[in-house]
C-alpha cells in the first residue's frame, strides 16, 4: 500500500517535469534561443507551482475526490499541451500567450497535487515520514523524467506523443487513486467514468500523433502539405491545392506548377536556342529537374550534367511520381549525369567545358550563397565555357530587387563577359530577371523548340527591353572580399516585407 502511494508521487512528479520540458523544448524549437525559452518556461512553471501550493489551503473538504479531479485535469491539459502549442503556432498569432498560459495552468495544478497528497497521507503515516518520503519520491520522479526525456521520449516519440503518453500516465494514476483512496471517496463511479473518457481520448491522440503533427504543419502553409523533409542543407516542403503543386525550400517558394513553365522556358531557351551546335550543357542548382526538362528538348544536346548540393532534392524529383511527371522524368534520361556537390568546389576541381551553362541558385540572401554570385565564381565558370558558349544566370527580380539584379549583371561584366539581361512576368513570383553572358555578343535565336507554352520568337524582343522602373542603376560588382550583393538584397528584401 505504502509502496503504491509513493510510486504515485514518483509518477506525478515525472509527469509534471515532462510537461515542463515539452513546453521548453517546443518553444526552443519553434522560436529558437533555447536558453531564454527554457529559463522563462521553468520560471513560470515554478512560480505557478507556488501559487498552486498556496491555493491548496482553500481546499478543505473531499480531498481525495479533489485529488483525483486534479490528476485528471493535469492529464488533459498536460497530455494535449504540445498538440495545442503546435496548433497555436500554426494557426494563431499568440503562441507565447498560449505557451505561458498552458505552462501556468499545469504548474498550478501540479502545485496543488503534492500538498493535497501530503494531507491525504498524513492520516496513514507520521508527518516526518510523509514529508521525507513524498519529497524523496518527488525528486526521484523528476530525475527519471529528466533522463528519459532527451534519451528516449523525444527521439522515440516526438514532442506530441511524449506529452500525450504522460497524459495517459496521469489519467492512469487518477484511475488507480480511486482505488487507493476508495475508503474516503464518496462517489468513485462517476470519477472512474471520467477517468475512462479522458484515457480513451488521450490514447486516441497518441495513436494518431503523426497525423496531428501533419495538421499542424499544414497550418503553416496555405495548402495541403504532401511532403516535407529536412535534409542537411534545407527543409523541403511540397504543397498541393487542386492542380497547383508548390515547392518551398526553407519556407521560400521555389515554383508553382501552374506557372513554372514560364520561368523555366525563359531561363533556358533564349540562350540555348541561339546555340544550335550546343552539345554539352551544365546546370548548376536546379535540383527540381525543371530546367533540365527544357534542356532535354534539344536533340542536339548529347550530355547534360546537373550539379546540385542536395542529394535529397534530386532523389525526390527522380522518384516522386507527381514530381517526376512535372520534370517529364528528365533525371531518367540517359544523357543526364547528376552530381551532388557544392558547385564552386566542383567547378574548381574539374576542367570539363560546356557549350551552355544554366546557373539557377537560390537568391543571394546570405554570404554562403552570395559566393556563387561573385566575380571569382564567374571567372571560374568562364574557364568551363567552350568557345562561343554562353551562360544564363537567374538574377532575382529587376523590379523588387533592382540593385541586386543589376549588381549581378555588373559582376558578370567585371568578370569579362558581354551580358544581355532580360525579364518576364511569372504570376507566382512577380517580375523576374535573368542575365545571359558570353564572351561574344549575344545574337537572338531564329527558331525555338516545339511544344513550348509561353515563349515565342515574337515574345523574345520585348523581354530584353526594360521599362523605366526596372532600368539599370549604378551598383558595385559583387566580390568574394566585398559581398555587396548580399547587402543590396537584404535591404531590398526588408523594404518589400515592410
Amino acid at each position: 500500500m505504502a509502496a503504491a502511494l509513493f510510486a504515485t508521487v514518483c509518477l506525478i512528479a515525472a509527469c509534471g517535469l515532462v510537461y515542463e520540458l515539452v513546453a521548453g523544448a517546443l518553444a526552443s524549437y519553434l522560436l529558437g534561443d533555447s536558453v531564454t525559452q527554457f529559463s522563462t518556461v521553468i520560471g513560470v512553471y515554478l512560480a505557478s507551482m507556488g501559487i498552486g501550493s498556496w491555493l491548496s489551503r482553500y481546499l478543505t473538504r473531499g480531498l481525495a475526490a479533489r485529488f483525483v479531479s486534479i490528476e485528471l485535469l493535469v492529464a488533459v491539459v498536460g497530455g494535449w499541451s504540445s498538440t495545442l502549442l503546435f496548433l497555436a503556432f500554426a494557426y494563431t498569432e499568440s503562441f507565447r500567450v498560449a505557451l505561458y498560459a498552458i505552462v501556468a495552468i499545469i504548474g498550478m495544478l501540479v502545485g496543488l497535487e503534492v500538498p493535497l497528497l501530503m494531507r491525504l497521507l498524513r492520516e496513514r503515516f507520521t508527518f516526518k515520514d510523509v514529508v521525507a518520503n513524498v519529497l524523496t519520491f518527488d525528486y526521484l520522479g523528476a530525475l527519471i523524467a529528466s533522463i528519459l526525456f532527451p534519451l528516449v521520449l523525444v527521439p522515440k516519440l516526438g514532442l506530441v506523443r511524449a506529452a500525450l503518453g504522460f497524459g495517459i500516465v496521469n489519467a492512469v494514476v487518477a484511475l488507480w487513486s480511486t482505488w487507493l483512496f476508495r475508503g474516503v471517496l464518496g462517489a468513485p463511479r462517476a470519477l472512474r467514468i471520467a477517468c475512462g473518457v479522458v484515457l480513451v481520448t488521450l490514447v486516441g491522440g497518441f495513436v494518431a500523433g503523426d497525423k496531428l503533427m501533419a495538421a499542424a504543419e499544414r497550418g503553416l502553409y496555405a495548402d495541403d502539405v504532401i511532403f516535407a523533409r529536412t535534409t542537411p542543407y534545407q527543409r523541403i516542403v511540397l504543397t498541393v491545392w487542386k492542380d497547383d503543386l508548390r515547392l518551398y525550400l526553407n519556407n521560400h517558394l521555389q515554383f508553382s506548377s501552374r506557372d513554372e513553365y514560364r520561368y523555366h522556358e525563359a531561363l533556358v531557351h533564349p540562350g540555348l536556342a541561339a546555340l544550335p551546335a550546343a552539345r554539352r550543357v551544365l546546370i548548376l542548382g536546379g535540383g527540381d529537374g525543371l530546367a533540365l526538362r527544357e534542356v532535354l528538348r534539344y536533340p542536339g544536346v548529347a550530355s547534360a550534367t546537373l550539379v546540385d548540393l542536395d542529394g535529397e532534392m534530386t532523389k525526390l524529383f527522380t522518384t516522386h511520381h507527381d514530381l517526376a511527371a512535372l520534370n517529364r522524368r528528365s533525371f531518367s534520361d540517359p544523357r543526364v549525369t547528376v552530381v551532388n556537390a557544392d558547385a564552386f568546389s566542383w567547378l574548381d576541381a574539374h576542367d570539363d567545358t560546356f557549350d551552355f551553362v544554366v546557373v539557377d541558385f537560390p537568391d543571394p540572401s546570405n554570404y554562403a550563397v552570395g559566393k556563387l554570385y561573385t566575380t571569382a565564381f564567374y571567372r571560374l565558370l568562364k574557364r568551363h565555357l567552350a568557345r562561343g558558349g554562353r551562360i544564363v544566370v537567374q538574377s532575382t527580380s529587376p523590379l523588387f530587387a533592382r540593385a541586386s539584379f543589376w549588381c549581378i549583371d555588373r559582376t558578370l561584366r567585371d568578370a569579362g563577359f558581354a551580358t544581355s539581361p532580360y525579364h518576364l512576368y511569372v504570376p507566382s513570383f512577380g517580375e523576374w530577371g535573368f542575365v545571359l553572358a558570353g564572351v561574344d555578343p549575344y545574337v537572338a535565336p531564329t527558331t525555338l523548340p516545339g511544344g513550348l507554352r509561353f515563349l515565342s520568337l515574337a515574345q523574345l524582343g520585348p523581354m530584353f527591353d526594360f521599362p523605366l522602373d526596372m532600368r539599370a542603376v549604378a551598383v558595385e560588382p559583387n566580390r568574394l572580399n566585398d559581398q555587396v550583393l548580399v547587402r543590396y538584397y537584404e535591404k531590398e528584401f526588408e523594404q518589400i516585407n515592410r
Binding site: G158, P232, L480
Partner: protein, 510 residues
C-alpha cells in the same frame, strides 16, 4: 525517415541543449591535445651557455643567414631573385617560418602565429614585388580568392555577434561623436606623411608621439568612450602584444594610419602566412638547414670573415645576415656587447579542432572573430577561405597576448601552466560566445611563445641601439622585425631584404 521523426530529431537537439540548462551538465567529452614545441629547450641551452659538441662539419662559403623567420626567408628570397645561391640559411626550429609557422591536420592547414598580410599599398613596394612573384598580384589586380572573404570580422558584444566593430563604436551618440573625432585625428596624422610602411621608408625619428604611451595620448586627446578605448587597446594587443598603457602612441597610431590599401583585405590563407613560408621554401630548396641552432658567432682575423657555429658544424663565411631575434644576438655574437634595453611580449596561441560549428547568436561567422572585454584576442577560422558552403569540421586559431602582467611575470606564468590550465582558459573564454563549444571541440593544441616579439614601448623609434645595428658595416648585417620595432610582415621582409642587399654588395654579388 518520416516527417514526425525528422521533427523529433531536431527537437532532440534543442532538448539536449535544454537538459543542460536543467542539469548543469558540463559534457567535456575528453578533449585531446597538448603543447607543441616552442623552441624553449634550444633557447635555454643558449642562455645557460651549455658546452658545444665536437665539430663534425666545416664549410667555407660566401654567406650564412641565421634565422628562418619571415626576415631570414625574405633575405634568402632576395638572393634567389638575384641569382645568388651560394648561401646557407640556418634555422633552429625543426621547421622554418618562425612566427609565421603553420600546422596541418585532416581538417585544414592552420597558422601558429602570423595569419594575414594587410593588402600592401603602393608604398609597400617590396611586398608587392613578392606577391607578384607568388601570383597573388597580377597586372595590378589582387587575386580575389586570396583576399579575405566577406564577412571579414565580427564582434561578440552584448550577448551576440555583430558584423564589424562599427555597431559598438557607434552605440551611443557620445561614442559616435568620439569615434568620428578619432577618425578625423587619424586622417590628419595620415596626411602628415610621418607614418609609413615599412617604417624605414619614412623619416619619423624623434616624433613627439613616440614619447607617450597610446593610453596617455588617448587621455590627452580627451577620448573617453569605453568602446573606443577598448578598440584602441585591442588593436595594439593584437598587433604588438602590448597593452595601450605600455605601447608607444606612435606605434599604436601607426597601426591605424600607415597602410593605404587599394583593396578590401587583408590577404589571408587557411594556414596564414605559413603559405608564404611554404612558397618561399620552394624557391630556397636545399639551401635551408633546420634543427640548426646557431650557438656562437665570432669575427676572427680583424673581422674579415664570420665564423658561425652550430651544435656540430662550423661555417666560415664572408658575410652573415643575422635574422634571429636581437635578444638572442646578445648571447651568441661575440663582441655584440650588452643586450639592448628591449622587452619582449609573451603569447599563447591555441588551435582548436572542432567537429562542427558550435551554437551562437547574431551575425554570420567571420574570418576574424573577437570577443569584447575578453582577455584574449578572439579566433580566426581556418576554413573561412574555402569556396564551398560553410559547414562541417573546422579549425580555430585562438590568440592571446599576455599583457595583464609584466612580460617577466607572464613568461613565468606561461611556463608554469599545465596544458589543462591553458586549454581550460581558452575554452572558458570562447564559451561565452559559444555555449556548446565543449561538445564540439576535439583537440586543443597550444603553442607558447616566451619571447614572441619586441614590444614597441615609448622611445623605441629613436632607440640608439636600433640605428647602430641598422648602420652595421659588416660583415654581420642585422635583418629581423626587431630592428624596426614593429613586428609585422612588411617590416620583417623589409629588414631581411635590406640586410641581403648590403651583404650581397659586400661580397660583390649585389
Amino acid at each position: 525517415m518520416s516527417d514526425a521523426q525528422s521533427v523529433s530529431r531536431r527537437a532532440f537537439v534543442a532538448a539536449s541543449a535544454a537538459a543542460l540548462v536543467g542539469l548543469t551538465h558540463k559534457g567535456e567529452r575528453g578533449v585531446r591535445g597538448g603543447f607543441v614545441e616552442d623552441g624553449g629547450a634550444a633557447g635555454h641551452r643558449l642562455r645557460d651557455n651549455a658546452s658545444l659538441g665536437p665539430v663534425r662539419e666545416r664549410r667555407r662559403l660566401p654567406l650564412v643567414i641565421v634565422g628562418g623567420g619571415m626576415a631570414g626567408l625574405s633575405a634568402a628570397w632576395w638572393c634567389e631573385k638575384h641569382g645568388f645561391r651560394d648561401y646557407l640559411l640556418l634555422e633552429s626550429g625543426d621547421e622554418a617560418g618562425g612566427n609565421a609557422r603553420a600546422g596541418r591536420n585532416d581538417v585544414s592547414g592552420y597558422p601558429w602565429g602570423a595569419h594575414y598580410v594587410p593588402v600592401p599599398g603602393k608604398q609597400a613596394m617590396l611586398a608587392r614585388v613578392l606577391f607578384e612573384d607568388l601570383g597573388v598580384l597580377r597586372n595590378g589586380v589582387w587575386d580575389e580568392r586570396t583576399l579575405c572573404h566577406s564577412p571579414q570580422e565580427r564582434l561578440f558584444w552584448r550577448g551576440e555577434w555583430h558584423e564589424g566593430f562599427e555597431p559598438m563604436l557607434n552605440d551611443s551618440a557620445a561614442d559616435r561623436a568620439e569615434f568620428r573625432r578619432f577618425q578625423d585625428r587619424l586622417d590628419g596624422l595620415r596626411s602628415s606623411g610621418e607614418f609609413t610602411i615599412p617604417v624605414s621608408r619614412g623619416r619619423p625619428a624623434r616624433s613627439a608621439l613616440d614619447a607617450l604611451t597610446l593610453a596617455q595620448w588617448l587621455d590627452r586627446e580627451g577620448f573617453r568612450s569605453r568602446a573606443l578605448r577598448w578598440y584602441a587597446d585591442y588593436a595594439v594587443r593584437d598587433d604588438y602584444g602590448t597593452a595601450a598603457r605600455d605601447a608607444s602612441a606612435w606605434a599604436g597610431l601607426h597601426y591605424f594610419v600607415a597602410r593605404e590599401p587599394d583593396e578590401k583585405g587583408p590577404l589571408t590563407w587557411p594556414e596564414g602566412n605559413g603559405w608564404i613560408v611554404k612558397r618561399l621554401l620552394e624557391r630556397i630548396g636545399t639551401r635551408v638547414r633546420t634543427g640548426a641552432t646557431v650557438r656562437a658567432v665570432s669575427r676572427p682575423h680583424g673581422g674579415r670573415v664570420v665564423v658561425v657555429r652550430t651544435e656540430d658544424a662550423e661555417f666560415t663565411a664572408d658575410a652573415c645576415i643575422w635574422a634571429a631575434p636581437i635578444f638572442v644576438a646578445a648571447r651568441v655574437i661575440d663582441g655584440f656587447g650588452a643586450s639592448p634595453p628591449l622587452t619582449t611580449a609573451p603569447w599563447l596561441v591555441a588551435n582548436l579542432t572542432l567537429r562542427e560549428w558550435p551554437d551562437e547568436r547574431g551575425s554570420a561567422p567571420a574570418w576574424d572573430n573577437t570577443i569584447v572585454d575578453s582577455p584574449g584576442l578572439g579566433y580566426v577560422n581556418a576554413t573561412h577561405q574555402r569556396l564551398s558552403r560553410p559547414g562541417g569540421p573546422t579549425v580555430w586559431t585562438y590568440y592571446h597576448a599576455l599583457v595583464q602582467q609584466t612580460p617577466l611575470e607572464a613568461r613565468r606564468a606561461l611556463r608554469a601552466m599545465s596544458w589543462r590550465d591553458a586549454s581550460e582558459f581558452v575554452l572558458s573564454d570562447l564559451e561565452r560566445a559559444h555555449p556548446t563549444l565543449r561538445r564540439v571541440v576535439e583537440r586543443v593544441d597550444i603553442r607558447r611563445y616566451a619571447h614572441a616579439m619586441a614590444r614597441p614601448e615609448p622611445g623605441f623609434l629613436s632607440a640608439p641601439w636600433r640605428s647602430a645595428l641598422a648602420a652595421s658595416r659588416g660583415p654581420i648585417w642585422y635583418g629581423h622585425a626587431d630592428l624596426s620595432g614593429l613586428s609585422v610582415f612588411e617590416e620583417a621582409q623589409d629588414q631581411g631584404v635590406r640586410a641581403a642587399r648590403r651583404a650581397l654588395a659586400h661580397i660583390g654579388r649585389g
